[in-house]
């Protein structure tokens, strides 16, 4: 490397001294300006060197925690809303289908970053006055809730398309057979179409689940102190950009590897004996 750079991996291991709150949970105390890195403060009371002005390790752990929390909650929304919308797109009633199609086109075609801003800055203004006030002033951690809802609804549009594709991949005869034995249309979905279609779409569901974790980094733009936001903050405090973002990169890769491992386990558990396609082998 041509440029002059002081490598120092130990910054990512800086811990808080005993008895000093680290502000885990992404509280405002960690925001730049909340505690000043240059004023010294608590950090100078323990001996880890001048570079360890703040508990950077704890910041990373806290950021990782929020990345996981926001993503998992968003995934719950994406899966449930996406299933409802996806099923709606396969129903006979034309107005239900049109409504579901509109949802998908709306949430799929607007950039995630723009959606994040819309949810955070615009939606509270459009709601009735008290509701908007509640969202802006009274709700604790508004940016976190906003990020969860925004990511969830955005990914729901993708999940919906996968669920629809899964249902449409099932031969029409299955529906005929289920109806012919007296099941109601709702029961046909519950007992026949959905169990099979979820198995068919496990691979795309998996990559979309990973996508939620990766897209959660966009939430830093509205102030969510997740992994990427914390990394940027540490980089700004220490100028050890390479070390910090190497750790972040590895952590994201680890998360997605864990997700794919879990999903592979799920796929195996749900595998239908005697088939190749329905749920891996």
């Amino acid at each position: 490397m041509a440029m002059k750079y002081n490598w120092d991996w130990s910054v990512v291991l800086c811990r808080a001294p005993e008895g000093v709150a680290t502000g885990t949970g992404g509280s405002a105390a960690q925001l730049p300006g909340g505690t000043s890195a240059f004023a010294g403060g608590a950090a100078q009371t323990f001996d880890t060197g001048a570079h360890c002005a703040q508990p950077y390790f704890d910041w990373i752990v806290s950021g990782l925690g929020w990345t996981v929390v926001v993503s998992v909650f968003a995934w719950v929304i994406a899966f449930s809303v996406g299933s409802v919308i996806g099923v709606s797109r396969t129903l006979d009633q034309p107005w239900v289908r049109r409504g579901a199609t509109t949802y998908v086109e709306l949430f799929r075609n607007v950039p995630l970053l723009v959606q994040m801003f819309l949810w955070f800055f615009v939606v509270p203004e459009l709601l009735p006055k008290e509701t908007g006030y509640f969202l802006k002033r009274q709700l604790p951690l508004p940016e976190y809730w906003t990020a969860i809802v925004c990511l969830g609804f955005y990914h729901a549009s993708r999940t919906a398309e996968q669920v629809r594709a899964g249902i449409e991949a099932i031969p029409r005869g299955q529906t005929y057979a289920a109806l012919a034995m007296g099941l109601t249309p709702a029961q046909v979905y519950r007992y026949v179409l959905l169990p099979v279609s979820y198995r068919i779409i496990i691979p795309p569901l998996t990559s979309d689940f990973m996508g939620i974790f990766k897209n959660s980094s966009v939430a830093l733009t509205i102030g969510v102190l997740e992994l990427t936001a914390q990394s940027r903050q540490i980089a700004e405090y220490t100028f050890n950009i390479f070390e910090v973002f190497t750790v972040t990169t590895v952590l994201y890769i680890l998360i997605t590897l864990i997700v794919s491992t879990i999903m592979r386990f799920v796929e195996k558990r749900l595998h239908i004996p005697g088939t190749i396609a329905l749920g891996g082998n």
Binding site: G173, Q174, A177, L179, G182, Y191, V196, G274, T275
Partner: protein
């Protein structure tokens, strides 16, 4: 028991059924045959309301199928249906396939449903396959399970939509044997099939369809003796020579 009265149906501009009328009395076995695209499968699917029709009327056991407000799930539960591609549910075991509608539609408890399922699996000679999944069975076995599944609902009539057309030749007989037994026991049956041997053996009447119309509707002896229409004669000569 089943009355079909001047039923017409269109897919868009294309007319698939043209004033079809026939009837099936209790205990009667009626075979429907005809070239592909003649509307046989569509007609049989109209009988339990799987396909809507635009004109005419169908009544099953006094209940009008096409009428507004008819409880279709309840009506369908009383008519068994067997499909060309078996249509067992792939994610359930053979036993669960037979228990599903018993528990969810007839509200039988699991033990009761399981007992009835095993009884029927015994009858079609597949009791040992109960814990397997459909994909682990041969086509003939799957179709026998599908018949057991339909019978588990204690239907008043059975509809068969080309039950042997997707089977390898050596598996056709094991399915036909089950159907013959069923016919001889007095089950009311409507069977779309090209198995003329089966028709001769157990059918009371044969309906011949072509171009969406019922061209012949005759007693089995008469149909094979001297079908009146030229089209039916041609059809028979084609499928009986081999």
């Amino acid at each position: 028991m089943i009355t079909v009265d001047k039923v017409s149906k269109w897919f868009g501009d294309f007319q698939v059924l043209d004033k079809c009328s026939t009837r099936v009395a209790k205990g009667e076995v009626v075979v429907i045959c005809g070239p592909s695209g003649s509307g046989k499968s569509t007609l049989i699917k109209c009988i339990n309301g799987l396909e809507p029709f635009q004109q005419g009327a169908i009544t099953v056991n006094g209940i009008s199928v096409g009428a507004e407000g008819t409880n279709l799930p309840k009506l369908r539960a009383s008519i068994g249906m067997v499909f060309q591609n078996f249509e067992l549910f792939p994610h359930m075991t053979v036993l669960d396939n037979i228990c599903l509608a018993q528990t969810k539609v007839l509200n039988r408890n699991r033990a009761e449903a399981g007992e009835r399922a095993m009884q029927l699996l015994n009858r079609v000679g597949l009791a040992d396959q109960a814990p397997k999944h459909p994909a682990q069975l041969s086509g003939g076995q799957q179709q026998r399970v599908a018949i057991a599944r339909a019978l588990a609902m204690d239907p008043i009539a059975m509809l068969f939509d080309e039950p042997t057309s997707a089977l390898d030749p050596e598996m056709i007989n094991e399915v036909l044997d089950v159907m013959v037994k069923l016919a001889l026991e007095g089950m009311t049956m409507m069977v779309v099939t090209h198995e003329m041997g089966f028709a001769r053996k157990v059918a009371d009447r044969v309906v011949f369809m072509d171009g969406g119309r019922i061209e012949e509707d005759a007693k089995t002896d008469e149909f094979f003796g001297a079908p009146r229409g030229e089209r039916a004669q041609m059809f028979l000569s084609k499928i009986l020579t081999h």
